[in-house]
């Protein structure tokens, strides 16, 4: 599935990165290569761009850039209760349904 199709709180692993050369390169430089695990943290107030966390970094990209990244989902937002994700869960108002 596409990275842009994940929901806030979902975890996934990157399987491939496709974009125009400059964008693709930037994505890869920031650590989005095959095998990288990431979590979709949130969507911006207006629904675009998105924020993800990977390798301890917070990254943002627009939806059309996230469209080029294929991932496979590891865990859904509902699956985990520990850590600060749990805390995020209690503050549900910040997320997209």
């Amino acid at each position: 599935m596409k990275l842009s199709e994940l929901k806030a709180g979902d975890r996934a692993q990157v399987s491939s990165v496709a974009a125009e050369p400059a964008v693709r390169r930037r994505l890869m430089d920031l650590g989005l290569v095959r095998g990288t695990e990431l979590e979709l943290l949130r969507f911006a107030p207006l629904g675009d761009p998105i924020e993800i966390s990977c390798n301890g970094l917070l990254l943002t990209m627009r939806r059309n850039e996230a469209d080029g990244i294929t991932v496979h989902k590891l865990a859904s937002a509902e699956g985990r209760q520990h850590g600060w994700q749990g805390l995020r869960k209690r503050h549900r108002f910040g997320r997209r349904a």
Partner: protein, 712 residues
């Protein structure tokens, strides 16, 4: 001093790694800001004397990579290759090693004399991260010096290392990162071919060139394409692509990046121990509010409002104080100068010209203190994240928003503030929208005209409409530019949200000081020249007939037997009449008349033409010129300018509306044009833009005038 040996050091590293802090800590006051040749990317250069050495430090722009995709990366690469600095110091953020070391690996590939400065060691210790430096040095082959640029710790150690490396006392082992077998095979093959090309520089780093060719690097491509060996290389590249596709189902470029990541991850696993944290950090809590789907936008607008208030509300008394002191200066100087031309040149030309530039200084300093606070604290990137969708619709970047808002105060700091945008095309598009954000100097014009021709309640609506029109035209211009001439390179919104940090006062003040100096030095000379030029245009040539009339009439008034107050009043009336006559006779006046056929369809006569010409100096001048010209025949202070305008037969509601639209849209003041030229780099786009705004202003005013004639 002459025994000093010189060492050139380049600072390279990721954005936010602390290069600039290190640069400031090292070079202190000995700094110069310039642009890299050909591009408007800030170049900071400074020096320090250490032991027997004069060390020149060049702060390269922050990059994630050394590809030729962005101007920052090209500048960094070219500097390292062409200028051959003695030492390249790679500034690495200790709290974020994995991403930072990706660049280190690429610098290793260039086989430069590399030294790694492991910055933010204070934070590393605070977070309980332990780093095995010896092991890391073994893996990377260059010395690693732990520092904390913010607290000035470890700097002497770093300088000692710099000296030792440049003297060759420290051996840089120049380790090689080995890639997947297929990639290595292709590299070997290409290196062999490059070695056999006699025309290629023997000193060049062939392995690096081979890697870059496999990474589709267009700069190296064009470099090698000239030679006959290219035919063979192209075949080898094709082969590598198909082999990587078959065995790894990806391309060589991605494979190389993956291998670099694998190397860095391996190094991280061996050398870095992080405590397991499950607790949310303070940054996460702040983001929960600041990036919240409901609160995000209100917080954003609050911050923008605060910056605007800081710049213009707090700046206003300072600005007025400066304007007042310049007024005081001309009053003190004037009596000591011979009356006539010389006094006028100094008082009305030089002092008011310099004054008109310097009065903006408080605004600029305050704005940049605010902006560098936002930038250094980490909020700027988040602001861009929150508002990007709206901006992107018009082809702009999330970060374009803050300069645009600032434009409502004054275009000059706003244009300078676009430096926070990294992509040149985004910067150009933003710069070109700013003059349409109606600045504070245009307000007096609207107040005068709307106030004169509309009832108070309607006047406010009219002014609001003018502001909206400006925004609409600005966004339309951005969209037009981005979908035509600036289409090619748009900054991807792929960026990092840095962790929140408290900016240090020194760095905030430092940034503001740099901007202030830059503004005064560079823009000051150009703006001053232009202001004086307009002064000359509105004072020359002088009509000797009018001069003579002034002399005889003054003598007549003085000689007449009337009360002293009456004399003064008569003299004032006379001077106003002569001034208006002289203005009409001057170059500005003549061009006003010359312009009349052009502006007639907009409802303007030659007198408004003069006001528009002098308004190029500063938009408030439109009001004072209208005052001078239209007051002919009315005693000074007898009636207000708005009453005079209302009583003019040629000045209707439609004319007022048309004039407001024209003042909103036509060429901004010379100061803004000067700063624009400085930020854009060349005159061509600025001149083209000026022609464009004139056209837009003309068409918009034409439509306004004729619609108003129909409906009112």
């Amino acid at each position: 001093m002459s025994q000093h040996k010189t060492i050139t050091v380049a600072l390279a590293g990721n954005p936010n790694a602390g290069k600039s802090s290190l640069f400031n800590a090292l070079t202190g006051a000995h700094q110069r800001v310039g642009n890299f040749p050909g591009v408007t990317i800030e170049k900071h250069e400074g020096y320090l004397d250490y032991k027997n050495y004069r060390i020149t430090v060049v702060d390269l722009p922050g990059t994630y990579s050394l590809t030729p995709y962005s101007p920052e990366e090209i500048v960094t690469r070219r500097f390292i290759i062409d200028e051959k600095p003695n030492v390249v110091v790679n500034v690495v953020e200790g709290t974020n090693l994995e991403r930072n070391l990706m660049l280190t690996v690429q610098l290793m590939e260039m086989e430069v004399d590399l030294l790694v400065a492991l910055n933010m060691m204070d934070e590393v210790e605070q977070q309980g991260i332990s780093i095995d430096l010896d092991q890391l040095e073994q893996l990377f082959g260059s010395h690693i010096v732990p520092i904390s640029a913010r607290n000035h710790k470890g700097l002497d150690d770093l300088l000692d290392h710099i000296v030792s490396v440049s003297e060759g006392r420290i051996e840089i082992r120049k380790n090689k990162v080995s890639f997947s077998a297929e990639v290595e095979k292709a590299i070997d093959k290409i290196v062999g071919m490059l070695c056999h090309e006699p025309a290629l520089d023997k000193a060049a780093n062939h392995r690096w060139m081979a890697i870059k060719l496999l990474e589709n690097d267009r700069e190296v491509y064009t470099q090698v394409q000239k030679y006959p060996v290219w035919v063979k290389i192209e075949l080898a590249l094709q082969e590598a692509i198909s082999e990587c596709g078959m065995l790894h189902s990806t391309d060589p470029e991605a494979l190389i990046t993956e291998d670099r990541h694998a190397f860095v991850r391996g190094a991280m696993q061996e050398c870095v121990r992080k405590p397991k944290t499950t607790r949310a950090s303070a940054s996460d809590y702040i983001d929960m509010v600041v990036l919240n789907r409901v609160l995000g936008l209100p917080v954003f607008f609050l911050v923008v409002w605060a910056i605007f208030q800081l710049t213009f509300t707090l700046g206003k008394p300072l600005m007025e104080a400066l304007a007042y002191s310049f007024g005081l200066l001309s009053e003190t100087v004037a009596p000591h100068l011979p009356a006539g031309m010389v006094r006028s040149i100094f008082v009305d030309g030089v002092i008011s010209g310099v004054g008109s530039v310097v009065v903006f200084l408080p605004n600029i300093v305050l704005l940049f203190m605010g902006l560098s606070f936002l930038e250094a604290s980490g909020y700027m990137a988040r602001a861009a994240f929150v508002i990007d969708k709206v901006m992107h619709r018009f082809g702009l970047h999330g970060k374009s928003f803050i300069p645009m808002i600032t434009g409502f105060g004054c275009s000059i700091p706003a244009i300078m503030a676009t430096r926070t945008l990294k992509s040149r095309s985004d910067r150009l598009a933003t710069i070109m929208t700013i003059p349409f954000m109606s600045c504070g100097a245009k307000l007096p014009v609207y107040v005068l005209l709307a106030g004169a021709f509309f009832p108070p309640a309607m006047a406010a609506n009219v002014m609001f409409g003018i502001y909206l029109l400006g925004i609409a035209v600005g966004l339309w211009t951005a969209w037009l530019l981005k979908s035509t001439v600036l289409k090619s390179d748009s900054e991807p919104f792929v960026m990092e949200l840095p962790p929140y940090r408290w900016p240090t006062l020194t760095s905030v003040v430092f940034q503001a000081r740099m901007k202030a100096v830059m503004y005064l030095k560079k823009a000051g000379t150009l703006i001053l020249g232009a202001v004086i030029l307009i002064w000359v245009a509105s004072n020359f040539p002088r009509s000797s007939a009018l001069d003579a009339e002034l002399a005889t009439e003054t003598a007549r008034i003085e000689a007449s037997a009337v009360a002293l107050e009456l004399k003064a009043e008569q003299r004032q009336k006379l001077e106003a009449r002569i001034d208006a006559g002289q203005l009409e006779y001057s170059i500005a006046g003549r061009s006003g008349k010359l312009l009349e056929p052009l502006i007639r369809p907009l409802g303007f006569d030659w007198r408004i033409g003069i006001a528009l010409v002098t308004g190029l100096a500063a938009k408030e001048v439109v009001v004072s010129t209208l005052g001078t010209i239209f007051s002919i025949g009315h005693a000074a202070g007898e009636t207000s300018l708005s009453e005079i305008l209302r009583s003019e037969p040629g000045f209707s509601k439609a004319t007022a509306l048309s004039l407001m639209v024209f003042v909103l849209l036509y060429i901004p003041c010379v100061a803004a044009v000067g700063v624009m030229k400085k930020e854009v780099g060349t005159w061509k786009p600025v001149l083209f833009y000026s022609a464009y705004v004139m056209l837009v202003a003309w068409i918009a005013s034409f439509i306004t005038y004729h619609l108003a004639l129909l409906w009112m």
